[in-house]
């Protein structure tokens, strides 16, 4: 726990340094404040008749960063998409098990997917800002889409962009098109857009795989600054990144023609230094995968 607090410190410094606006703009009808714990119990996923993920039990503690690692095709992204009900958008997709958000199953009858997705935001592998909208409109897009009200829109835009580490670069051109930014800036704009709804959890699906090292570092700093405020679950192929940003790590693996499953999970330091399973050590040291 101590190292979490050590890492959490720079966040406040940056916030104060960058912005005089302290506090948070209030969104009416938005998610409840604070980070939330996400827990998967016996999560399974199918595409058609093919079982791609079996029996995942994983606790993603509130306010911490959980990294999902493992070779391609082992079900990490599928698992991530189970966590905010994006999985069900794919034709033929099915699931089993429970996903608990602060103890409540997000797949319970009567729970709307829109409500779940508002509380559990997502950043995708490929930056996907809305190209027809300005930077400002992009940040506020979630409010419009989820039909939320906010009286301090300017504050919200500024706060979200600061949290995503993009404010300084775009403060003078909030009305120019979001699509005109560089790839790294676009990805941070997408992070700002997700944060503007003030979600309890943020899912990130290989957010840096399309970015250069400098942009990657900025996104990692952003993740670090979010620690404590938002629960972050990140899929990454970059072992150093997983090691740098995460508190908890889960190693996914799929044997040939077998569904993916979690081989080992635990505190990141242990996973990287002395894991219980030899396959985990092989993977994190780059000996296969």
């Amino acid at each position: 726990m101590t190292d979490i607090h050590e890492r959490a410190l720079p966040m406040t410094e940056t916030l104060v340094a960058e912005s005089p606006a302290v506090g948070r703009a209030t969104i009416i009808g938005g998610p409840p404040p604070g980070a939330a714990t996400l827990e998967a119990r016996g999560a399974c996923a199918w595409f058609g008749d093919r079982l791609v993920l079996e029996g995942v039990d994983l606790v993603m503690p509130a306010g911490q960063v959980t990294a999902l690692i493992g070779p391609s095709g082992c079900g990490k992204s599928t698992f991530l998409r189970l966590l905010n009900r994006m999985h069900e958008l794919i034709p033929g997709a099915a699931l089993d098990g429970e996903i608990l958000l602060d103890g409540t199953d997000i797949y319970a009858t009567g729970t709307r997917a829109q409500q779940v997705r508002m509380r559990i935001g997502m950043v995708f592998q490929k930056p996907n800002p809305f190209p027809a909208m300005s930077i400002r409109e992009n940040v506020l897009a979630g409010l419009k889409l989820a039909r939320l009200k906010c009286d301090e829109k300017d504050d919200l835009v500024e706060q979200s962009l600061i949290r995503a580490g993009l404010w300084k670069e775009v403060r003078d051109r909030l009305d120019s098109a979001g699509g005109a930014l560089s790839g790294g800036q676009q990805q941070r704009l997408c992070i700002a857009r997700s944060l503007a709804v003030q979600p309890n959890v943020l899912l990130m699906d290989e957010p840096c795989s399309a970015l250069d090292p400098t942009s990657t570092r900025r996104v990692e700093e952003t993740i670090d600054e979010l620690r404590g405020e938002v629960t972050v679950v990140i899929v990454t192929h970059n072992m150093q990144q997983a090691n740098r940003v995460s508190d908890i790590c889960a190693f996914f693996l799929a044997a040939e023609n077998q569904p993916g499953a979690v081989v080992e999970q635990g505190p990141t330091r242990k996973m990287f230094e002395n894991p219980d399973d030899p396959r985990t050590l092989d993977y994190v040291e780059g000996r296969f995968g």
Binding site: N84, Q114, M118, G121, N128, P129, P131, A141, L145, A146
Partner: protein, 340 residues
């Protein structure tokens, strides 16, 4: 002197980048297969253009009689069409008015219907229902226009009377919606427009559907992941992306509607709109260029020449509409793959 000493010694003028270099000419000798294929495809492309020019030339030559006797300006601005007086007084404006009105009514009805139809196909259907719906819309395009005309004439005309009556009673203050006392409400521009709307629906639906289906999936997922409903996603992602396609498709539909013949020939009395008379789209009356030509074909040489001139005007207008439509579709971010 000392001031000069402090500065850097003047650097010798370096040659401009690329000075003394010439661009090599890269030659590529295409294979025989490529050359033949190239010739065939180019030939096919050029023949379409030649055909278009030939049609234009044919119309121009055939219509020269009528245009030279009437005068081009008079022909374009006169609304009457009288060949029973000497000299004959013919003009295309009355016909054009009817043509444009029918086409506009048709597009106003067809565009919203087509856009929702395209959305139903691309966004709200399972793969199987999507195939089925596309087939049904294509089938609508395959129905001969004569059948639409007959159906409109024999069935729809009567059924539309209550709607026309309601519109004229409640919206009669809008100039075009006014009707005269005891006027017949069948055979109106309104009814012709509704029938033509059904005929242009397939083309508009297929162009917009094509564009909607190219919406980047990443942007759609982003909208849904933010907590948007499907309709919210459509409004913020699909419709803005497809705007060019909607406009272009509507203009293509307009082009079709302007040239639509058999149905309007059956439905409208083909009496040219007279300038000065107020326009009544809800009551019996009106004529369109193509419908008028279809009704009068086979008359004396001078009338035929006049009809050719009217045809030439229609040809130029539809050509211009379609060209603008294709430019709009091509310029929109989503233009690729739209079949013109």
């Amino acid at each position: 002197m000392s001031g000069i000493d402090l500065q850097d010694p003047p650097t010798p003028p370096s040659p401009a980048p690329g000075a003394g270099r010439t661009k090599r000419v890269v030659t590529e000798v295409p294979s025989v297969v490529d050359r033949r294929f190239n010739a065939i495809t180019m030939g096919a492309g050029i023949s379409v253009l030649v055909l278009l020019l030939l049609v234009g030339a044919f119309l121009l030559i055939q219509s020269s009689d009528a245009i030279s006797q009437t005068g081009i300006l008079r022909f374009l601005t006169r609304t009457e069409w009288r060949t029973d007086v000497q000299p004959p007084a013919i003009g295309v404006l009355g016909l054009l008015t009817g043509t444009v009105l029918v086409a506009v009514v048709a597009v106003l009805f067809a565009v919203p219907l087509s856009v929702f139809c395209a959305l139903a196909i691309t966004e709200y259907s399972t793969a199987r229902r999507r195939k089925w719906l596309i087939g049904v819309v294509d089938l609508l395009a395959a129905v001969p226009s004569l059948l639409f005309g007959l159906w409109g004439f024999l069935y729809l005309s009567d059924k539309m009377i209550p709607i026309s009556t309601w519109l004229s009673q409640n919206l009669g203050f809008i100039p075009f919606f006014h009707t005269e006392k005891n006027a017949s409400l069948t055979g109106s521009i309104f009814i012709a427009g509704v029938v033509v709307a059904l005929m242009v629906l397939p083309i508009i639906t297929s162009v917009t559907r094509e564009v909607f289906s190219q919406t980047p999936p990443g942007e759609k997922e982003a909208a849904l992941a933010l907590g948007g409903t499907r309709w919210g996603m459509i409004r913020s992602v699909v419709l803005p992306y497809g705007r060019g396609g909607i406009i272009g498709g509507s203009m293509l539909g307009l082009g079709r509607a302007l040239g639509e013949t058999i149905a309007v020939a059956l439905l409208l009395p083909q009496v040219p709109q007279r300038i000065g008379d107020s326009i009544h789209i809800l009551q019996n009356g009106g004529a369109t260029v193509s419908g008028f030509i279809a009704n009068r074909a086979g008359a004396d040489a001078f009338t035929v020449s006049g009809l050719m001139a009217a045809g030439l005007v229609l040809f130029i207008i539809t050509l211009a509409t379609n060209m603008i439509a294709s430019v709009v579709v091509a310029r929109s971010r989503s233009g690729a793959g739209v079949d013109l």
